[in-house]
Amino acid sequence: MAVRVSRRAFSVLAVAALLAVALLPSAGRPTRAASPLVLRLGTTTQIQSLNPWQIVEEEDYEVMTLNYDVLVGWGPDLEPAAGFAESWTRSTDGKTWTFKIRDGMKWSDGQPATAEDARWTMQFQLDQLKKDGTVGDGYLDVYPQAAGVTSVSAPDPTTLVVTTNLPNSLILTSYVPILPEHVWSKLDPKAATTSFQNPAPIVGTGPYQVVEYKPGEYVRLARNPYYRGQQGAADEILMTYFSSPDTMVQALKKGDVDYARGVPAAQFDQLKKDADPHITAVEGVSNTFYELAFNCYDKPIPGGGASTTALADPAFRDALGYAIDKQALVDKIFGGHAAVGDTQLTPQMAEWHTSPPADQLRTFSIETANQKLLAAGYPLDASGRRLDKDGKPISLRLNWPGASEEAKAAQLIQAWFAQLGIKTTAAAVESAKLAQLILPPEADPPGKAQFDLFIWDWVGDTDPYSLLKVLISKEIGASSDSNWSNPQYDQLYDQQLAATSDTDRKAIIDQMQLLFYQQAPYHVLWYPTNLDAYRTDRFGGWRNQPTKTGVPFFGFGSANYTLLTDANAPTPSPTASGAAPPPTTPAASASPATPGSGGETGGGVPVALVVGGVGLVAVIAGILLLMRRRTGPDEEE
């Protein structure tokens, strides 16, 4: 006999069933067919572009070096290592470089990758630079210029010859990717460097190529079957952008991401304390410094310029340096997760960075600062205000581009300067506005350099020249933001670019750092550290770069991705995906899978969305109908 279910009971059941389907974990988990092994990265900075000529963020560079090889790559400690070129030799005058390109190397689409591709890419950049003065809006213009590249040729498929007019070795640290001529030469040169999006699937020689990209969401890369070297265990890499670092850390804890980049300091300490055996939290040196910059512009600007002539006086800037407790900044703002700053070269450039000798380092002392100010001719007036040489009380404007660390630093600096009788008006300014305020009359369009102090940061290359360059006189009106001009520094800058040996160059760069520290156009406040964390239950083989002081990813090049092993592989055997196949041998399979064939995640998304949405709407509509019918005929009059 059939059981009668009342309508009310039925609708309750229907709701319960809906909830069960939607909520029960066992029912909700998707069944997946042999899914690829995916390395899931979380970042809190978005990818801006896949076009190498347009990239800006470190995340962009990470994706770029996964897609493409640069001519000479980076080793575990950032030393030059095999890249697109296998090896190289240098002529005795130091100006001609001969690169050996691997025989039989292939692009990810199976086409041969030869010295001709390298020649084409480098020639393309040189031609564009000559024509427009720039290639795209990215940061790649400087590399051939700094290395002094004059001509490139490819006498045979495995030989590339580069001629320079400077005897330096900067050609070895170029960040310019080698692009496939058979793809890029078909594009209009102007469009190729600007509007071209470089859509997936990308063709490159790097270990992984982008097969799917959703701006502001994620980028998905698949293993390159033709990669020249060791294959990483991950079949795919998924780099997801998180608007909230908290969510990213929760996802890491739960195991929904394998690597979290940029963990907030408090959570980083918590991760360390939790000591989850599957999570490794690692603090690495970065290539960034934050500075308190002075407006050193030394000529009067009608209606603009600094509020006092004191800022153009090195003695005044030096004295203020004693009133900044850098250790307190590091402790109070970063909970100790940063390093005290001194020169314009970052700790990541350990081989170039030289701290001033101990007796020249400024140690925090309001007393010393006071004495130095008096000695330099800046007395206090009767009401305790510091006067400049025109007898005017010094009142400084202090700006920063909106970030909270900078705001905290500004607050502390304001309090220290107040103890010197110097009033500071602190205000966050939108970054584009600040960049505009800084512009001096030399800029195009001309500005008025209407600022006194600001806190901002710079990020460097592996080579120090770009961070040295922002302080030369020629850059006033361009990248210089302190408007500092020092002929001795300018001369040293040119000398180090022309130095023939690293030892000679290092000696010059040491002088530049000391001069910078003494003259203090900036007080370098702190070097931030990279706080990253990764899980070890799905992947093994993690290596830091630099090995002793770095973090595994988002450094230089993509070698660390190829070292990862599958932590759950039964036993590490030579045929397992984690182990190294001989170089230049495509993956053992007979017919190499084309990147991008991995699943229907791409095309199916909107369909699933619509099906899911329509399904839910239908269920809800059904419930509504049921509820309506409840007032059925028995209740009609």
Partner: protein, 324 residues
């Protein structure tokens, strides 16, 4: 006079949208600074590069009339320009991927909240002082006063991190391949559950409180007393006499809410990293992406105007007096 009412409302909506388009232009030109300078904060940038950038984005031309005319013409053709941040990716391409996730999340959230909120509110009001009223009202107040991000973070911590029943973020399992569209749909629903619950719970509180007080108001009305005096069944009095009148403020509230929901969307989406318009708005704001912000604001404001137009048109069915 129905045709006249319709015409008036549609004309009003068109004028409003035109004014929004104007405002959108003015607002974004009034912002401080010049975006290409941020691109230019680069030790490698040259004056030529800056000039080229300005030219590409039309910033080298005077604001009036050149930039304005170009903007109007392009907007009319559905061309919202190119994103600054995404290096020249068309704004329409960026937006199009982000609309559906938000529409589904908030469309469904609204729908669930309307059904459950109205039912809960009506029942509490009708059985004023009962157990459901006491508990329902208390819970509604808590839900209503709780910010979305707090509610969302709470649900995320309990159901995703501690219990591990749901994924922490996103719309699909990263890197998953699916045997069928059904599998994929299930995966989607599994990811949707927590953000949807957050949205729905937040709105249920609001709707049930308004519905309850609205029902309570009608209880003292003469027509309810009359209906009862006629000897109608209690439930019938509620459904046919009290509810339709109590629904009027709800219709207004829901229509107005469609606009505010987007503001709520921002925090819910950020908490669950849901790839919708909310997270996109935050991203565009962080990066000063004028064209993208312009596109988002235009889309949102136009949809609010349209939602209100629909509400106005519905109103004449709910309340016959409107037509008069």
């Amino acid at each position: 006079m129905r045709g006249g009412y319709l015409l008036t409302k549609v004309t009003q909506a068109v004028i409003t949208i035109f004014l929004l388009v104007l405002l959108n232009f003015v607002l974004f030109r009034m912002m401080p600074g010049s975006p290409e300078r941020v691109l230019g904060r680069n030790p490698n940038v040259s004056a030529a590069a800056l000039e080229a950038t300005r030219e590409r984005w039309g910033l080298d031309k005077p604001v009036l009339p050149d930039q304005f005319v170009a903007y109007l013409a392009a907007t009319a053709q559905g061309d919202l320009g190119y994103s600054f941040f995404y290096r020249g990716l068309p704004v329409v391409d960026v937006l199009s991927d982000r609309i559906w996730p938000t529409v589904i999340l908030f469309g469904l959230g609204e729908l669930i909240a309307i059904v459950v909120g109205i039912a809960l509110g009506a029942y509490s009001g009708w059985r004023r002082g009962g157990a459901v009223d006491h508990i329902g009202n208390g819970v509604s107040l808590i839900l209503y006063s709780m910010p979305y991000f707090l509610l969302g973070m709470g649900l995320l911590l309990v159901f995703a991190v501690w219990l591990g029943w749901f994924p922490v973020y996103g719309m699909f399992t990263p890197g998953a391949t699916y045997d069928s569209i059904l599998d994929q749909t299930v995966d989607f629903l599994w990811h949707l559950a927590l953000p949807l619950a957050t949205v729905a719970l937040g709105l249920i509180g609001q709707y049930s409180i308004v519905m309850r007080s609205s029902i309570v108001d009608t209880l003292g009305e003469d027509y309810v007393t009359t209906a009862r005096a006629k000897g109608l069944h209690d439930r019938r009095v509620l459904r046919k006499h009290a509810l339709p009148n109590a629904m009027l403020p709800m219709a207004t509230l829901i229509a107005i809410n469609l606009g505010f929901v987007i503001a709520g969307a921002i925090t819910v989406e950020v908490v669950f990293n849901w790839p919708g318009l909310g997270t996109l708005t935050v991203q565009a704001l962080e990066t000063r992406d004028y064209p993208l912000l312009q596109g988002i604001f235009l889309l949102l404001s136009v949809s609010v105007v349209l939602a209100n137009l629909v509400a106005d048109l519905l109103y004449q069915f709910l309340d016959p007096r409107v037509k008069a």
